[in-house]
Symmetry: C2
Subunit: 210 residues, 2 copies
């Protein structure tokens, strides 16, 4: 299930941010550092390569008792028997995803407005992620950063866990949680960190503060 | 179900080959011309756009009594409740796809060797397509053309309908059927034709000859 409570650090994989290093080793380190959820995000690779990466990550996430959530590809999530799926506003509509994956699996939806968040809740979302908060180099196709105000509005409007995403670092993570998020979703701050375990631990410490 | 018998003309959509023209109108014309199956292939667009195209095509294919088969995205096929899925050697493995889509839906697999075709048969394929036969501009990432010999070997080795694909035109379609195929899969020859209905009808005529 999706982690309960606050102080959640949700780590999203990214081949580019990993550079020459092994994404599997980095995720392993993030789990040691206390990551509460892992998202398998692997754009622009064939489904079979994404499945191979997922098959390498699942034993690690299962051993850690942490959900592995697949970005965009609902079919890859089913093929892997992963714990959930995350979709954005250009992906398969969340209500269709919920029908495909059944009631038990985690369903995350990227939202930027209260309306999108309320729709996600009606569609059966387990959580929403709100962003791009601060501007991120990992998703160059995203729009301009929206800041923390929509996050606060969304956290008040829907009865779902809300994660902040987009340009989050140890320096600004506390502001995200104070704005109403149960935690932070990060790519570069962990995957691109010189020491991913220490980076995750530092984010966990900050996110757990109120 | 997958069309039985010989003389099958299987038309694969391609936004680029359609150019400025409506892909929906072109598919409609191909169905009037006698196309026996339509594959929704829509690379490099978000899943939601692929679903929108599929939702526009399904009423046409259903009215024609012709299956709509979705390329690569098993989840899009499920979201659309399409008639089947087609996967290549880099996509989700066919046995996993069969598990996800259940026993009834059509499952097509791209193969280039007898071994791949036998594996597809074991994995639950409904049909295989063999290519690239003659070299095609529609799939620039494909390897060199394999010619008709593997098609004949595969048609003898597996008990599945075999389609030829790759650079097929009215001029060479007869050779593909004579080599052992139940029909031809085409992109440019129909989608890029000045008159898609006439182009499909001409292919049907040639493919029906033995
Ligand atoms: Ni009509």
């Amino acid at each position: 299930p999706f982690p309960s409570g606050r102080g959640i650090v949700y780590v999203i994989t990214d081949r580019r941010a990993a550079g020459e290093r092994s994404l599997i080793d980095i995720v392993h380190a993030a789990l040691r550092g206390g990551a509460n959820a892992i998202q398998l995000r692997d754009k622009d690779v064939p489904a079979r390569a994404m499945i191979a990466l997922g098959e390498a990550l699942l034993p690690l996430t299962r051993a850690a008792g942490v959900p592995l959530i697949v970005n965009d590809r609902v079919d890859v999530a089913l093929a892997l028997d992963a714990d959930g799926v995350h979709v954005g506003q250009d992906d398969i509509p969340a209500d269709m995803v919920r029908r495909i994956i059944g009631p038990a699996r985690i369903l995350g939806v990227s939202v930027a407005t209260v309306e999108q968040a309320q729709q996600a809740a009606r569609d059966g979302a387990t959580y929403v992620s709100v962003g791009d908060l601060f501007g991120t180099p990992s998703k160059p196709d995203a729009g301009p950063p929206i800041g923390l105000t929509p996050l606060t509005e969304i956290a008040r409007a829907v009865d779902l866990p809300v994660l902040g995403i987009g340009g989050i670092t140890v320096a600004n993570a506390a502001s995200v949680v104070r704005a109403g998020a149960v935690g932070v979703a990060v790519i570069s701050a962990v995957i691109g960190a010189p020491d991913p375990e220490a980076a995750t631990r530092a984010l966990c410490d900050v996110a757990a503060q109120r």
